[in-house]
């Protein structure tokens, strides 16, 4: 029973983390492998605002989301501007950039128990004999809302459709009047904001841990690969598959193996069906 509950929680957690990444990489085709760094930064920024500057919680959250969004926008111009279209270089550059940021934070000493975010609401409820913090309910709610938002955004708003158009065929998108650079920068900005939303929702469940940043990237990548990078339903399905597998493995094999699950999943999917479960259009280019 608790397997079911924690599995669900875990899955939503993954979905939360994955939406931001999916938006930039899967849907817009802009590789942002500094995602983990942004995730952690978002959380740290809120912490700094609360503890050092004394802002109220809600305000800090809003400020942080906006700031990280701006940061993402700027990130594009600094890192990716000259690399558009060379996906591999984008990956290397953003990945190193992200690594640099994370290691810098570690060096500056941002780790330890005092770096924690308070939950939105204290307390827990019992369901089926298992105590669940209220925070997790928030997480589920926000997670579901985020996924729905992602779906509607990419299918029904002009900007969202622009994102998708860009990843499918950039040249055509440009001829249709979509400003490729600005759109890509916005994709990065949105992705960063979503990452921050995810981080402030999830981090109260534990402490702010630098390593979690790196893990977040792997989680997001795994969910994207398994479900198909450009498909929102794919994100949902993949989150659940991976979320439950992770719980399962943790219970029966020990938590050391959980990362193994994710990494193997990435490898397995890439070897067998690179487009992912629901991914479509990239398949034709996969081979020759």
């Amino acid at each position: 029973m608790d397997l079911l509950i924690f599995g669900t929680c875990n899955s939503i957690l993954l979905a939360l983390i994955a939406t931001g990444f999916s938006l930039t990489f899967g849907i817009s085709g802009v590789a942002n492998f500094a995602y983990g760094a942004i995730y952690v930064c978002g959380g740290l920024f809120v912490w700094a605002l609360i503890s050092k500057a004394g802002f109220p919680y809600l305000a800090s959250i809003v400020i942080s989301i906006i700031t990280m969004g701006l940061f993402g926008y700027a990130l594009y111009w600094v890192f990716l501007f000259r690399l558009r279209g060379l996906v591999l270089n984008e990956v290397i550059a953003t990945f190193s950039g992200g690594m640099a940021i994370l290691q810098l934070l570690r060096y500056l000493g941002f780790h330890g128990y005092e770096y924690a975010l308070p939950p939105f609401m204290e307390g827990s409820i019992e369901i089926g004999g298992v105590g669940i913090e209220l925070q997790r309910f928030f997480m589920i709610g926000i997670g579901a809302a985020l996924v729905l938002f992602l779906y509607f955004f990419t299918h029904h708003t002009r900007l969202g459709l622009a994102f998708r158009g860009m990843s499918q065929d950039e040249r055509t998108a440009i001829t249709l009047g979509i400003d490729s650079d600005k759109t890509a920068a916005l994709a990065l900005a949105f992705g960063s904001s979503l990452a921050t939303v995810a981080s402030i929702t999830i981090l109260p469940l534990g402490i702010i841990d630098i390593d979690r940043g790196f893990d977040a990237l792997i989680f997001a990548l795994a969910v994207g690969m398994v479900g198909g990078l450009e498909s929102v339903p794919g994100v949902i399905i993949a989150s659940f598959i991976l979320g439950f597998s992770q719980q399962f493995v943790a219970v029966f094999f020990g938590s050391a193996y959980t990362m193994v699950v994710f990494l193997s999943a990435i490898i397995f999917v890439l070897a067998v069906k690179p487009a992912g479960i629901l991914g479509k259009f990239k398949e034709l280019e996969e081979r020759v």
Binding site: A93, G97, L104, F253, L263, I267
Partner: protein, 339 residues
């Protein structure tokens, strides 16, 4: 980049007189031209061979060995990149080679003379087998898989606690003495550089570059591109695993740290800084980066930041690499010409 002058001028690059002459067989006609061609090649080789004696057993001797190891890794990355396979996981080859050599030494009691080749060839074989199924993927997906392999293997070792688990395998035999270690590592590096360079100059190398440029065209010219990719992975894998085996015996230890991101990013940064595609450039990049980072030792925690930033900067701003730049300056000069 200097700004163009006023009026109609353009920049023109012309081969220096001596290069143009020495490109043909007439190079043997004058000592000056022979020197022009040989000097950049012979001098560094002699220098490298002399370094162990100069630096001795101390701290800088260790740095030299470290440079050799990283340089081998950079060469192996560069070779794979020459066929179009960008790897973000050299640490994988390194670690497997290291563990294999360490295990051969510790569990089978073999001396370094045997365990190193076993580590190199065995490591290369294992890694090639694991990567063979994914050669048909596009560049970025291949890169992502190489990214995950070192992580995966290190987690598995950590979880299953085989091969020493989190503690690793200590107490591995050392080389007969420090100078033997050096004079194994440095010549191997030099040989690898020359071998790789030679391979690329042959028709085999042209085929590899063709596969990198456009594999569809090469495939329709009757070449089994997958076979060539796999062969390239094997050759690179052996080189990197060799580095791992050498490292294991030098540090007398192998553990999870052998799979660390260090061993992927430093070769990558060095190769790109020095000039991807030229093996001498990769070596040059490493011999700049590693001593530099040793000098900045006080900022130990910032090491990865340092490498990552260099990598990012190079990828964004200087994709050509130092070596290409030097090469260009050495053999061509630029001048402004009226249009």
């Amino acid at each position: 980049m200097t700004e163009p002058r006023e009026g109609k001028y353009r920049k023109e690059r012309i081969d220096r007189g001596i290069k143009a002459r020495s490109d043909t067989v007439y190079i043997v006609s004058s000592p000056r031209e022979i020197m022009y061609v040989l000097l950049p090649r012979v001098l560094p080789v002699i220098g490298l061979l002399a370094l162990p004696l100069v630096l001795g057993e101390g701290y800088w001797g260790r740095v030299l060995f470290l440079c050799c190891i990283y340089a081998l890794l950079a060469l192996s990355w560069d070779f794979m990149a020459s066929v179009g396979l960008i790897s973000l996981g050299q640490a994988f080859f390194f670690g497997i080679g290291g563990y294999l050599a360490g295990a051969a030494n510790l569990y089978l009691g073999l001396s370094p003379l045997f365990s190193i080749p076993i580590g190199a060839l065995g490591g290369g074989a294992i890694c090639t087998l694991l990567l063979a199924p994914v050669v048909r993927l596009r560049g970025i997906y291949f890169a992502m898989i190489t990214l995950t392999f070192p992580l995966l293997v290190s987690r598995i070792i950590e979880a299953t606690k085989i091969l020493g688990g989190t503690h690793g395998l200590p107490g591995i035999a050392f080389f007969p003495n420090v100078y033997t270690a050096m004079y194994v590592a440095v010549p191997i590096l030099i040989i690898c550089m020359f071998v790789f360079r030679r391979i690329m100059n042959e028709d085999y190398g042209t085929v590899l570059q063709g596969i990198r440029d456009n594999d569809r065209t090469v495939m329709s010219s009757g070449i089994n591109i997958y076979r060539y990719k796999i062969e390239t992975i094997f050759i690179s894998g052996v080189t990197a695993a060799l580095a791992g085996a050498l490292g294991t015996h030098y540090w007398r230890f192998v553990g999870l740290s052998s799979f660390s991101w260090d061993f992927t990013i430093v070769p990558l940064a060095g190769a790109i800084l020095g000039g991807a595609g030229t093996f001498a450039g990769a070596t040059l990049g490493i011999f700049i980066l590693v001593p530099l980072s040793e000098l900045l030792r006080e900022f130990a925690g910032l090491r990865i930041v340092f490498y990552s930033l260099i990598l990012a900067v190079c990828v964004i701003g200087l994709p050509e690499g130092i070596f290409h730049y030097l090469q260009r300056k050495y053999s061509q000069f630029e001048r402004w010409v009226a249009v």
